[in-house]
């Protein structure tokens, strides 16, 4: 998958906005939205929130987890544990990037939040690398990882699968003169 596809999926998440226009309920294939009344918060998907924000028709309310203290706690927890801790949102990285790029004036302490989220991401990716490394070196047959988000999985997916395929090719060619030595094509 392309990271932009993952971002596209992340845009379906719901976020609260405060519109400055009024509109009746709109009926879309994916669900109903609205009604919109100026000054009253309403839940909308992120793609609509960003579009309205760019047209200066709303103010975005940052999600609850996007707060300096909460993120600091999560970061400390992540650094202590060896396994992956539960994440604030399954799309935390994408949402942070989208909201901070387009609506940073509505989010207090935006720079610190960006740094904290990046720290959490770095810690998790480091754990993922470690775990993949030990998986390969110990030649495990299967592994189970909890609390991974789609973006993190996507980051390692192609590399990990290609590596495993290569290792399989190398291992299967070790058997001298075996008929199964012909490497299978991997995509």
């Amino acid at each position: 998958m392309d990271p932009s596809e993952v971002e596209f999926l992340a845009e379906k998440e719901v976020v609260k906005i405060i519109p400055n226009f009024s509109l009746d309920k709109i009926y879309l294939i994916g669900g109903d939205l609205g009604p919109f009344n100026p000054g009253l918060p309403v839940d909308v998907p992120v793609w609509l929130a960003l579009n309205l924000k760019q047209r200066q028709k709303c103010r975005i309310v940052p999600p609850e987890w996007m707060d300096v203290e909460k993120l600091e706690e999560i970061r400390e927890l992540e650094r202590k544990e060896d396994t992956f801790t539960p994440v604030p949102s399954p799309y935390y990285m994408e949402l942070t990037k989208l909201l901070l790029n387009h609506a940073s004036d509505n989010i207090p302490k935006a720079d610190e939040i960006r740094t904290l989220v990046k720290d959490i991401w770095d810690t998790r990716i480091a754990k993922l690398r470690l775990s993949a490394d030990s998986f390969i070196s110990q030649q495990e047959a299967h592994a189970k990882l909890d609390n991974l988000t789609l973006m993190e999985i996507n980051t390692t997916r192609s590399f990990l699968l290609d590596t495993l395929n290569c290792m399989y090719k190398l291992r299967s060619n070790l058997q001298p003169g075996s008929s199964g030595g012909k490497a299978q094509d991997h995509q």
């Binding site: 047209r55 200066q56 720079d111």
Partner: protein, 570 residues
Amino acid sequence: MFITDIRKEFYDVVVNQRVALLVSSDIDALCACKILQALFHCDQVQYTLVPVTGWQDLGTAFLEHKEQFRCFVLINCGANVDLLETLQPEEDSIFFICDTHRPVDVVNVYNDTQVKLMIKQDDDLGVPSYDDIFRDEEEEGGDDSGNESDGGSEPSGKRRRYDEGEVERRIERQRAMREWEARSDPKLLNMCVYMYVCVQAAMVIFELAWVLTKDTKDMLWWAIIGLTDQWVHDKITHMKYVTDIATLQRHVSRHNHRNEDEDNSLSIDCMRISFEYDLRLALYQHWSLFESICNSSYTSCNFKLWSMHGQKKLQEFLADMGLPLKQVKQKFNSMDMSVKENLREVIEESSNKYGMKDIRIQTFGVHFGFKNHFLASDVVHATAALLESTEKDDSPGDNFIKALDCLSRSNLERLHGGIDLAKKKLMAIQQTVASCICTNLILSQGPFLYCYLLEGTPDVKLFSKPMALTLLCQYLLKMFVYGILRCSCLSLLPLIIAAPMDVEKRTVIVLGIPPESETSDKKNFFGRAFEKAAEGTSSRTLHDHFDTSIIELKMEDRTKFLDALITLLS
């Protein structure tokens, strides 16, 4: 007719239609266009943007688009000429004109249906009342000469052409620097002789955005650039500049106040506009201080940097401030912090000793991100350089788009490219001015000063463009007046400059600027003068530019045109 409620009469009308935006090629128009584009994006209005460089361009663009569009928005063009007669539109076309050029043509004012002017009526336009003008249409001739007091009551009718004697007398009075305002009824007559500029287009459109409460800091920044453009190119008086700065300062504080809070400080990437009382040195933060002092008109005029004496004075000045030469010749960003700390105050103090009382000027600067700090005048110079770039494959349309791009925050490389071009342009201007003064190319022709740039002059291609040539003309006149003549009567003369425009077609571009003085009201009468002279000698001229004091002329007709002008103005 004048629009009173810009939201109801303009915006609500265009928001549901497809609009053609015809934008003139100057920076104020670019800024107004940017703000309007941002508003259109918010409301998803379909528009077509057409850059126009002159009346012919406007006509062609109109012909191309008149089938598809009913609404035309003209920015910085079209107010000072009878639009309906020039363009011959259909009955249902509407024109919204946001133009800084004055005087406004009376037909445009009194047309109720098709022409709407986005101009505040309380601007001192001096538009005579309807009865005064449209009363006697059959009346021809009619001597409206020197009868100032009756000027309003017995008007010259709808015609805007005056007999030769009338024009000559008027221009003669201007030449002796009598204030026209002393006249009791300058109105219609004054209107047609003088060209000046008024509220910038960018400010009008910004106020529209403000009324719609859709104004952002980006739009405010563009409005600031529009005003600074008028000041850099010397189109407005100092008083007007200061008044407009005060208006913009109110908007800036409103925006800053709204967003800054102790607990919730804004991200560093957000745009911050600040009021600065900064030095009048062009591009000094992107250049070395020494280069900037050498290439800014204010300082180089006062030091007379074309002479050895002037260079020595500059060295003295730097020594007086205690700035080491090595520091001063470095890029500004790499100067020592200790030197940079009180730089502005130190320079102001020293420059007072050298007779430069106004080295600091009120302006605005913008910060975004950690590295990016620009003053409004920096952006104006960069955009002007991009707009008139004379590189090989740049068409005017391309230049327009590039200049428009460099105004947005996301195109910083283009802005930096523009700054580099602007540096080259300023250096070229400085060298040309120095050589003109040293080789005495400025001649007094009687009623005006005249300078002709020969074809072999280095960088003469740069000066085939109106804005660059205007800058050169102004620097030249300032240099001449402050440098050479202190108190002689020659210092109250206007300056006409001619430079080769197109070598194959053998044309020159001619422009005139009013005399340089502290109390000058920047009103320019050369438009009419040029027209008259051209008619009189049947020279082949092209009065294409929106600013009537800039024309194109065939090289061969230059001498007889000049002679006619001399006779006209003396």
